[in-house]
């Protein structure tokens, strides 16, 4: 089905009469499913006459106004990325490339991997992180490198990862100050970037580094107040779900963030184990929809397969390898 220019749509390609289900690519920002979830002001869901493979559900039609362009971008959204028994980092790469292409000012707190890792994957997805950093669109905090600096050399000025030097668990105030400094709007008059975005790769690492769950929740709360409410930007954070490992601190953090977030994307491994053709399952849960008529949280589940430069989604059991 051809995409008409000018209207964004959910990227659902319904091939009538075929047994293939939904098949959309996580490629360019405009047609990506997740892109639309975040960039809600540009969306227009197709009218109710379009047949949806998932079946005509009565609750789907009224929620067509969920992403109507009339609802202004009032306040930012917090998106929670969660992975259980699998690696959800492909979601982080997607959001990073998406927001950079959408001309947003991005502050990326990358605690788990080095800059070159994100840069090389970003090149595959079509963005150049080095160029974005040079022109000031991307502020990148490389956690690994900064940790080595902080631990081995005494810093004169407060460092965002100052808590690594302290014996008992402090708070993440220096990190918050860093984020606020990075995303504050420049008073030069011209608005170069659309709106600010904070991306945090792996909040669970902060728990491993000695911070308590409450300190991390406080940090997220402060960031939400500044980034989402004051600066009208978006936030995307990744937390691991430890599952049956009984990590109480992680569970507190995950539950607390699930309660606060607008959108939860949960990447899970398949319950039946490893499969070469289906890498996992993605559960999408919209919370806090903007329209008051909607009283129920929406949830969808899709299975996915990650390829070299994209991710393909399909309905459960509809993997091309099986059909």
């Amino acid at each position: 089905m051809a995409r008409r220019p000018g209207t964004g749509y959910l990227g659902v390609v319904v091939r009538r009469g075929s047994t293939r289900g939904l098949d959309w690519r996580l490629g360019p920002a405009e047609s990506g499913l997740l892109g639309h979830l975040a960039y809600s002001q540009r969306l227009t869901v197709r009218s109710r006459t379009e047949r949806n493979w998932l079946g005509p559900s009565p609750s789907w039609a009224p929620q067509a106004d969920l992403f109507s362009p009339r609802s202004s971008h009032s306040g930012g959204k917090l998106t929670l990325l969660c992975d259980a028994k699998t690696d959800g980092s492909f979601l982080v790469h997607h959001f990073l490339s998406f927001y950079l292409k959408a001309n947003c000012k991005v502050c990326f707190v990358a605690l788990i991997q080095s800059f070159s890792h994100y840069s090389i994957v970003g090149q595959k997805l079509g963005v150049s992180l080095t160029m974005a950093r040079e022109r000031g669109q991307l502020v990148f905090l490389e956690g690994l490198k900064s940790a080595v600096d902080v631990v081995f050399q005494a810093q004169k000025e407060p460092h965002p990862l100052q808590f690594l030097r302290e014996a008992n668990a402090g708070n993440l105030k220096p990190l918050f100050e860093f984020v606020r400094e990075a995303l504050k709007p420049i008073d030069s008059g011209e608005a170069r970037w659309t709106y600010p975005v904070l991306l945090v790769d792996d909040l669970s690492v902060l728990l491993s580094l000695g911070m308590g769950a409450v300190a991390v929740l406080d940090f997220i709360h402060y960031c939400r107040a500044t980034v989402c409410w004051e600066l009208k930007g978006n936030m995307v954070v990744l937390v691991h779900d430890s599952g049956d490992a009984e990590d109480e601190e992680n569970d507190i953090l995950l539950n607390g963030l699930s309660h606060q977030s607008h959108l939860i994307l949960r990447a899970e491994g398949l319950a039946t184990g490893f499969c070469r053709d289906v890498h996992g399952q993605l559960r999408i849960l919209w919370r806090r929809p903007s329209q008051p008529t909607v009283h129920r949280d929406q949830s969808f589940t899709y299975q996915y397969k990650i390829q070299d430069k994209s991710v393909s989604f399909f309905a459960k059991g509809m993997s091309p390898a099986v059909l």
Binding site: S89, K145, A147, F274
Partner: protein, 429 residues
């Protein structure tokens, strides 16, 4: 703001070893660049380091773990700048072997070694390294060894599960020359003394270092971990593994081996108490170590007694902070020792995690049920029956034979697979 300067601009502050690394671009995650042979390049080429090769998938520089079979399962080898965590088997019999294979591979390739242990003197560990199989005169003994241990069933062509015959073997056995990637070692012989003496190695033996007066930075780590981190950082900086010494023409790899990390001998109590006072010490150590490795040309192997750790949450966090996690489960003392399915093997090997470096996907092996055995000379890894598999329904054979003889339309094939309940990785349709 200092933080913004550190991460924002490319021009890093002077005097920091790590900053010069980024200036010289010596991070290990670098694509193999093609340089003209005639140019006088001041920076030595990463490809020309002995014992390394670029990964097929993304050009990542790889080193061998000392076991070619394990290299194959890990997607070619251990990436430079990453950590290989080995979860020790219950009686710590086979994990020291993997540790020694890693170090022996370093000596054969001429890499610098850094051996850290709280239990054994590193000099003693190096004395016990296995000897490499390099010469052709060993080839004859080698072939006899393989022949004697060949079971009679392996000669029979598979009739029903014929597709498994087409699968490549786990490894190609044979003695190799010293310039190849990945060597074979004879576990029954010791490494020749002259090879050990010719190598450049540094030892960290905790009881000696803990009493010496090294300047310790204030941190909430256990003193043992702090001293080890200081030691590693000193070696990396002084010998130029992080690019801080650009005059050095010949680049080399630093192989770090840390034995029994997390055990009480290191001063850590995670193996003794469930919620000890130092519960973040180990994870903090792993994080800073990861930072050190990512900015230098080094690879690290860590053996850890995870079966002793009381708090399961720590194991999950340790797994997240390591890159490759391999678990060993030996059959000694367990009921599987008498299981006829496992009579040829000594234990199971679980590849729990493989990293996705510079990529959205990783090279995961399709086979998840692997067992290892230690023959007289070789440590081999082979595919085996999955642990929960005790009996195969005879109808499986009949159905598979029928399907191979009479190919069915695809929709019907799906129905058949759902009736039979066997693990998904055995699905050959």
């Amino acid at each position: 703001m200092a933080a913004a300067a550190t991460c924002g601009s490319v021009a890093a502050s002077t005097g920091s070893a790590v900053a010069t690394a980024s200036k010289n671009n010596v991070t290990s995650f670098q694509r193999r660049g093609r340089r003209a042979s005639g140019t006088n390049d001041s920076g030595p080429r990463l490809v020309s380091i002995t014992g390394t090769r670029p990964s097929v998938r993304n050009g990542q520089l790889l080193v061998s773990t000392g076991l070619p079979a394990l290299d194959q399962l890990l997607g070619g080898g251990l990436a430079v700048g990453t950590v290989l965590l080995i979860e020790e088997d219950k009686y710590n019999i086979y994990s020291p072997l993997l540790f020694k294979y890693f170090l022996a591979e370093g000596i054969v390739n001429g890499h610098t070694l850094l051996v850290a242990s709280a239990k054994e003197d590193p000099a003693n560990i190096l004395q016990e390294l296995p000897a490499p199989l390099l010469d052709d005169k060993c080839k004859k003994e080698f072939d006899e060894d393989v022949y004697n241990h060949k079971t009679p069933e392996s000669n029979i062509k598979m009739k029903i599960a014929w597709r498994y015959q087409l699968l490549p073997k786990m490894e190609q056995i044979g003695p190799v020359s010293s310039s190849r990637f990945g060597h074979y070692y004879d576990a029954s012989k010791r490494m020749p003394q002259e090879l050990i003496e010719a190598s450049n190695w540094h030892g960290f033996f905790l009881p000696e270092k803990i009493s010496s007066t090294l300047k310790v930075e204030p941190c909430s780590l256990t003193p043992g971990y702090t001293k080890l981190l200081q030691f590693i950082q000193n070696i990396i900086y002084e010998e130029g593994f992080d690019g801080s010494n650009p005059q050095k023409k010949q680049r080399n790899i630093l192989r770090i081996g840390i034995q029994n990390l997390g055990s009480p001998l290191w001063g850590d109590d995670i193996c003794c108490a469930e919620n000890g006072g130092n519960s973040h010490s180990l994870t903090k150590f792993l994080y800073v170590l990861r930072g050190l490795l990512r900015t230098s040309l080094s690879a690290c192997i860590i053996t850890m007694p995870t079966h002793l750790i009381q708090n399961k949450a720590i194991i999950a966090r340790v797994t997240t902070l390591s890159d490759i996690v391999v678990g060993l489960e030996s059959f000694i003392g367990s009921e599987r020792e008498t299981n006829p399915l496992y009579k040829d093997y000594h234990g199971l090997i679980h590849i729990r995690q493989i990293p996705r470096l510079n990529n959205l996907i990783c090279d995961e092996s399709d086979v998840k049920d692997l067992a290892f055995k230690l023959k007289r000379k070789l440590f081999t890894i082979e595919m085996c029956w999955p642990p929960h598999y005790s009996w195969i329904h005879p109808a499986n054979y009949l159905l598979r034979a029928l399907i191979l003889l009479f190919p069915l339309p695809r929709t019907m094939q799906i129905k058949i697979t759902t009736i039979m309940s066997y693990p998904s990785n055995w699905c050959i349709f």
